[in-house]
């Protein structure tokens, strides 16, 4: 028998893949590569098609407006990504945005400074996320049910707090946030970019990120290795809530008021962006760039269709077809 130490792991001839990074051409031939970058491919495809069909689409002003419009969805998709990575789902995300906006509006209307209002809004939505995570892990209730419950509960809370009325928020700080820009991008775009970077680092370059994926991948195995899977889940939901708070601030800044209305397409689109971005709803696999680009793609779709003057009746049909098509590129993903 061979000596256990002198037998280095020479990858054997058959069955061996290179340990070093594969070459570019090999990458381009591998369908899995295309699958991992489905949202990028989809986005580039959309940009080309829309750019040809309607040159205004590619104008700087329109691209800037597009990015501005996408910022909220990008932030939300990042929050959703953390939850989905743990094989959960946060259905209360859009409701949390509404509640955050209402709290912002009410605190501001009550005469407190706008910063305190923003802070309280983010605290409130983070608390909602924390609560979601706590109920899910302590109560061992499926994510779907708990967040559906909080979705309903928050809706009620928002209505009660606001009396069902929108609140104007006439803060110059928020107005600047919404309309000012630094360099080529508006501030909200920078906020989204910052969120992407921080989230990417958290996911790929910290222990928390690995533990998150492990929890989402096989919760029992992760637990057996000493990972506090419950804490990880609670953290993921809290992050999701935090992102909802940031999105609420961006939303109030953008529309200038806090509405007691839930934007359900924001919720569905956040999940769609996550899935288009190559994140598995069964957990264990995630990326941040993917969902962010997925969010961009979904926003570009509506923008382009509006520019092309596609009738409101035909828009949903087009959106549906394109979402499925974009997903088709993911077909080889394993």
């Amino acid at each position: 028998m061979s000596n256990p130490t002198d037998n280095a792991p020479v990858a054997h001839s058959a069955g061996a893949a290179e340990e070093s990074r594969p070459s570019l051409s090999a990458l381009l031939l591998d369908p899995a590569f295309w699958a991992d970058w489905a949202s990028v491919v989809g986005l580039v495809g959309l940009v080309i098609v829309f750019g040809i069909a309607q040159p205004v689409f590619l104008s700087i002003a329109n691209l800037q407006a597009l990015l501005l419009a996408a910022a909220i969805l990008v932030v939300l998709s990042i929050g959703q990504t953390f939850v989905v990575a743990t094989s959960g789902i946060d259905l209360s995300l859009a409701a949390a945005v509404m509640l955050g906006a209402i709290i912002l509006g009410l605190v501001n209307a009550a005469g407190y400074g706008i910063f305190i209002a923003c802070l309280l809004a983010v605290l409130a939505t983070s608390a909602i996320g924390f609560l979601n995570g706590l109920i899910i892990t302590a109560g061992k209730i499926p994510d779907f049910v708990v967040t559906l419950g909080t979705l309903s509960g928050i809706t009620g809370l928002g209505l009660i707090l606001s009396g069902g009325e929108p609140t104007m928020v006439g803060s110059t700080f928020l107005l600047k946030l919404a309309s000012g820009s630094f360099g080529p991008f508006g501030y909200p775009v920078w906020v989204a970019i910052a969120a992407v970077i921080v989230a990417h680092i958290a996911l790929y370059h910290t222990r928390f990120g690995v533990h998150l994926l492990a929890t989402g991948g096989q919760v029992e195995s992760a637990g057996a290795l000493g990972i506090r899977t419950n804490r990880v889940k609670i953290a993921a939901y809290t992050i999701s809530g935090f992102c909802a708070g940031i999105a609420a601030i961006l939303l109030v800044a953008r529309i200038g008021s806090a509405e007691p209305q839930i934007n359900t397409s924001l919720l569905l689109n956040s999940v769609a962006a996550v899935v288009l971005g190559g994140v598995s709803l069964f957990g264990g696999r995630a990326s941040i760039l993917g969902p962010a680009i997925g969010a961009l793609m979904l926003t570009a779709l509506v923008n382009g269709l509006t520019l092309l003057n596609v009738s409101a009746f035909y828009q949903p049909l087009a959106v549906g077809a394109i979402v499925v098509l974009a997903a088709l590129i993911m077909r080889y993903q394993k």
């Binding site: 061979s2 256990p4 037998n7 280095a8 990858a11 340990e19 057996a224």
Partner: protein, 250 residues
């Protein structure tokens, strides 16, 4: 059975565990001596794995006490067990399919670089270390960046073993570690267990291979139908006696 002796690295007494209507084991006393290889054998479903999982904090036993390294009730979860110095090769391997070989090897033991208050993964160092860990055990995997989902049965088991022995534990617990391994790899793992003993690391070994058990271990404990049925010194027993103990024919 014996009272807890002071040279035990881990010991339990009166331990019981049931799941709903299924009693996995009842009133079990067991100990593993410091620096020895202690084997646990028994039929399928005898309760070996469940006992192991109670000892390393995965399950909370219904009754009974555990002493590790002189401390009673030493930990309440697997994290505590690992921090206290116990590494485990679980029978189901406890690998995360979607993570890479390197990530699995360092799971919950990630190497980090600190920059101010923040700790970032030191991925390069982990990959380097992972390669040398695998090579020490001469384990063949296509790539260290490959997800473990698609690895062969033996490759998966090898990674789980590698993880357990790679981090300087006081006690390494292995639940059927060579079940899926080839001849060569099995020999490597056996050599490894001997080396661990030389370095006076304690080892608990669950195995169905009685030859292997007699070759490697100092003390053998026999479980039968959820009870601890017997314990013998490995040097004083024969394969036939073990078979008799396991089947209850003795």
């Amino acid at each position: 059975m014996s009272a807890l002796s002071s040279d035990a690295i881990i010991a339990c007494d009166g331990l019981s565990k049931h799941f709903g209507g299924v009693r996995a084991f009842t009133d079990v006393a067991f100990q593993a001596r410091r620096g020895e290889v202690t084997a646990v054998i028994g039929d399928n479903g005898a309760g070996k794995s469940t006992l192991i999982r109670c000892l390393v904090g995965v399950h909370v036993p219904d009754a009974g006490s555990i002493v590790f390294d002189g401390r009673e009730h030493p930990f309440s979860n697997p994290d505590g067990a690992r921090k206290a110095g116990i590494e485990t090769v679980h029978q189901n391997l406890a690998l995360i399919d979607e993570l890479t070989v390197a990530q699995n090897l360092f799971l919950n033991r990630e190497l980090v670089r600190r920059i101010g208050p923040f700790a970032f993964l030191d991925r390069k160092a982990m990959k380097r270390e992972a390669r040398s860990m695998l090579s020490r055990l001469s384990i063949n995997v296509p790539s260290i960046n490959q997800r473990v989902r698609r690895l062969s049965g033996g490759q998966r088991q090898a990674i789980s073993i590698c993880r357990a022995v790679g981090s300087g534990a006081k006690l390494v617990v292995m639940d059927e570690p060579t079940a899926a391994l080839g001849v060569q790899e099995t020999a490597n793992v056996e050599a490894l267990i001997r080396r661990l003993r030389e370095q006076s690391v304690s080892v608990i070994l669950v195995s169905h291979n009685f030859d292997q058990v007699r070759r490697l271990s100092d003390q053998i404990w026999v479980m039968r139908a959820g009870k601890m049925a017997a314990t013998v010194r490995a040097s004083e027993t024969t394969g036939n006696e073990l078979v008799a103990l396991v089947t209850g024919a003795a």
